[in-house]
């Protein structure tokens, strides 16, 4: 594939420089916060170094059908299960009702710094251009697995809602208590998809039904399961992982 990311590295670096200028004025958070914490400073250094030094247009390795392996389902395996520590009191029960209806009432809300906020049904997403990729899921714990994922590239969804030029981050909200996000460079990466299919079938519940993110340039925990809402933001939105002591950037 020779698809090119619509924003160049040069433009991105220029954007970072501009944002540094904005940060000096002290109004808003335009990069992952460090809270004055030395580990978060290290994370930020790694993130900046990757964005500065790595080419922006490369694709993660894609594998063959025969490479597909078993994939452990960890973390939340059913958001409706109140016994899990990451149970979402507000949306867990909602997930239960949506599941009973086989997700026909489920909608993905896409809003924030966009010109046409929208709510997409599974059928809407399946009508959009689709991409199927066999990629490696790499967990921060140290294990890995290969599966085939089918979904709509996030860039197509972002184009449909019309992100504003000031948009810099994308945040995922889910039916469990996780919330996490990525920057615009990863959001527009051609392999970053919202997957509704796994290994030729509908996405199983334990793997994030009805819709999960696949962010192939980062570790598994950025590929958020059980998507409920996508919020496009101009500024960094303090999210679940970083508040719980995990690096927001997980490209390493």
């Amino acid at each position: 594939m020779t698809t090119r990311s619509p924003i160049s590295r040069r433009a991105f670096v220029a954007g970072m420089a501009t944002s540094a200028g904005l940060a000096l004025t002290g109004c808003t958070q335009t990069e992952p916060p460090t809270y004055g914490h030395v580990l978060r400073m290290g994370d930020l250094l790694t993130y900046k170094a990757h964005r500065l030094l790595l080419p922006a247009h490369s694709l993660a390795r894609e594998y063959d059908y025969r490479d597909i392996s078993s994939v452990p389902a960890i973390g939340t395996t059913n958001p409706a299960d109140p016994n899990k520590s990451i149970f979402n009191k507000e949306y867990g029960p909602v997930y239960d009702r949506l599941l009973a209806n086989n997700f026909s009432d489920w909608r993905l809300i896409v809003e924030g710094s966009v010109t046409r906020p929208g709510a997409f049904s599974l059928a809407d997403l399946k009508r959009m251009p689709s991409r199927t990729q066999i990629t490696r899921h790499t967990c921060e714990e140290g294990w890995s697995a290969i599966a085939q994922w089918t979904g709509v590239p996030l860039r197509n969804v972002l184009q449909a809602v019309g992100t504003r030029p000031t948009a810099r981050f994308v945040r995922f909200d889910a039916y469990d208590a996780y919330a996490d996000g990525i920057d615009m460079l990863d959001a527009l990466h051609p392999q970053t998809i919202l997957a509704y299919g796994m290994n030729g079938r509908d996405l199983p519940i334990s793997h994030g039904a009805p819709l999960r993110a696949r962010v192939e340039t980062q570790l598994g925990y950025k590929s958020q399961k059980f998507l409920r809402r996508i919020v496009v933001t101009d500024h960094f939105d303090d999210d679940w992982n970083i508040r719980n002591g995990w690096s927001w950037y997980a490209g390493i």
Partner: protein, 242 residues
Amino acid sequence: MRSHPSWVRICHWLVAASFLTLAVSGFLILMVHPRLYLGEVGNDLTPAFLTLPISNNYLPSELQPAIVFAELPGSPISAERNYEIFNKNGWARSLHFLAAWIFVVAGIVYLAFGFATSHIARELLPRIRELAPSAVWQDLKDHLRIDFAASHAGPGYNLLQKLTYTSVVFIVLPVMIATGLTMSPAITTAYPVLLDLFGGYQSARTVHFFGFAALILFFIVHVAMVIATGFGQQLRAMTWGK
């Protein structure tokens, strides 16, 4: 007997501090999933190449209830083998990479000075005459007899010492950095050749572990030799330079 140049002393302690941090944080990361594999794939549902008896995580699935991983008849089941208490990756990973930055910067400074001042060529690379069989045999005998009568602090290293230092600096550490980078999804996206070089993500992780084991062995022998040849004078030589 010559003293350690100041840049060697500074780099030595920076490397020592970051190495120990890397070793401890790396061990914590390993405790989260103490199973090693070869190739691209390895997880709780696939056989391990090597299972390490560290932390309770290697024990089978009693720790958390098993769940079916796909809603199909006869689907394999999966269970997280972690006690939450063993997953310290939130800070252990960040600490590992922070220490790696310091380690790499100190390493680059060391190599730059080492080549620019010919320190590496003069003090670390063995000379041809040192590699003569009789000289090698003599050095081996001296070590086996634990005869360090002629030992002193600072350069003027013997053959085994030179071979150990050069293989750590020019073989083990570069392999550690390269296998470490091969575990990064962002870096293998940019440079997939790293995956080919080590035979996959899990192989790179396994090589990284054996590199860690080799460096721990080096660390133990290094400290033992420092003690055997006069702990006080060695420490003074590496700290104050005399």
